[in-house]
């Protein structure tokens, strides 16, 4: 038996969907327990006084990366069957800027807005409604954006290809960068708090 399980027919569609629901709930639960259901904590990331988002995201990246590599090395997972999303450089950069602007203004990203809504935060509901409205709006204007949407296509490229190193070396560099980043993040938090930037513990005023 080789993973991924679903494409190889080891899971039925219904079982796959059931597992997706369970994983989604678990993901939301741990995001909430990590404090990411609070817009204050998320907004503090942009003031550099609370680097939790950075730490959580980078931890997720290196955990998934090491997990995928070692599972495939042990012959349990076929990496060739794991879908790599294609890169569209300019549209994705623009999308990232819009995403970041929304994140900064609202204090939530799509995932954390669901978490906030699920624990009854009203700003989470507003964010969720905005997200759904945005999806419909994008669908309606997509024919006009289509050319831009498909521009600067680089295909499913990966960091090892860009850096010109083996996947193993790229992985080591990313883990080293993450560990250095965690250490630096703690120093940045202290520096920002010392400078009196708005913090999630004190003077950052957002809707509770």
């Amino acid at each position: 038996m080789s993973a991924p399980l679903y494409p190889n027919g080891f899971l039925s569609e219904n079982a796959g969907l059931a597992i997706a629901v369970i994983l989604g709930i678990a993901f939301g639960f741990f995001l909430e327990r990590g404090g990411l259901g609070s817009a204050r904590k998320l907004a503090a990331q942009f003031y550099l006084t609370d680097m939790t988002v950075f730490k959580v995201m980078f931890t997720a990246i290196i955990t998934a990366m090491l997990g995928l590599f070692w599972l495939s090395w042990l012959g349990i997972l076929d990496l060739a069957q794991v879908h790599v999303l294609p890169t569209y450089l300019v549209p994705q950069a623009v999308g990232g800027l819009i995403f970041g602007a929304g994140f900064m203004m609202g204090g939530y990203c799509p995932g954390t807005s669901c978490v906030a809504a699920s624990i009854g935060r009203r700003d989470g509901y507003v964010h969720l409604l905005g997200m759904i409205a945005g999806i419909f709006l994008f669908g309606e204007v997509f024919p006009f954006l289509r050319q831009f949407y498909n521009s600067t296509s680089l295909g499913p490229i990966t960091l090892p290809q860009i850096l010109g190193v083996s996947p193993n070396v790229a992985m080591f560099l990313i883990v080293a960068a993450a560990i250095a980043g965690f250490s630096l993040a703690t120093k940045v938090e202290r520096w920002a708090e010392h400078r009196g930037f708005p913090s999630s513990k004190g003077n950052l005023s957002t809707h509770p």
């Binding site: 090395w73 042990l74 012959g75 076929d78 294609p86 996947p167 193993n168 992985m171 560990i179 965690f182």
Partner: protein, 193 residues
């Protein structure tokens, strides 16, 4: 605790550098004989009639993808179809058990798309036989004999009419005898060849 986890991650990454390549079980493999056999046995396509009937009966489980450009898609498309270019088609992810029907004006683009998706490991991909032209001829504007005898029974005639009207087409009630092209048209056809 965090420091310990950091050390574990660093150790695993360091070990990975000397561990050698990860397992890639060949990914997608194409067996040309299998593909040739599928084409030989006409298992690679659905007919316009089959697709039309399944949509009309509400039993279609297909994703229908129109591979023509967006302006022609806007002009007309099979109800429920979505529009994708070949690049968008291969970039997208689909449920591996989902049946997909591709169509273009004729059959070239859809055949290319079908082979590309087969190469990506999707097994339930079909092309619409004869493309949109055959859809128009067989579903939208079928030529129906005035009397239901012989091969085409009364039920089949009713079904063709019903299907044509369902898709806002216009069934033509006339004998299915091709008219001889007039002299001018024959000369024009000869010039075009």
């Amino acid at each position: 605790m965090n420091t310990k986890l950091g050390f574990i991650a660093f150790g695993l990454a360091l070990l990975a550098v000397v561990a050698g390549p990860s397992y890639k079980g060949g990914g997608v493999s194409i067996n040309p004989r299998d593909l040739a056999s599928i084409v030989d046995h006409e298992l690679d396509h659905v007919t316009a009639f089959e697709l039309g009937r399944s949509i009309m009966d509400g039993e279609s489980t297909y994703i229908v993808i129109d591979l023509r450009d967006s302006s022609r898609f806007a002009g007309y498309h099979i109800p429920g179809a979505i529009n994708k270019s070949l690049v968008e088609l291969v970039d997208a992810s689909y449920n591996p058990n989902q049946a997909i029907v591709l169509y273009s004006d004729g059959g070239v683009h859809s055949a290319q798309g079908m082979f590309l998706l087969w190469a990506k490991g999707y097994k339930h991909v079909f092309m619409l036989k004869g493309g949109l032209r055959e859809w128009q001829e067989e579903v939208l504007h079928p030529v129906i004999p005035p009397r239901s005898k012989g091969r085409v029974g009364a039920d089949s005639v009713q079904l063709l009419k019903k299907m044509s009207l369902f898709f806002h087409g216009s069934p033509a009630l006339r004998l299915q005898i091709p008219e001889r092209p007039r002299l001018q048209e024959r000369e024009k056809m000869r010039d075009e060849c």
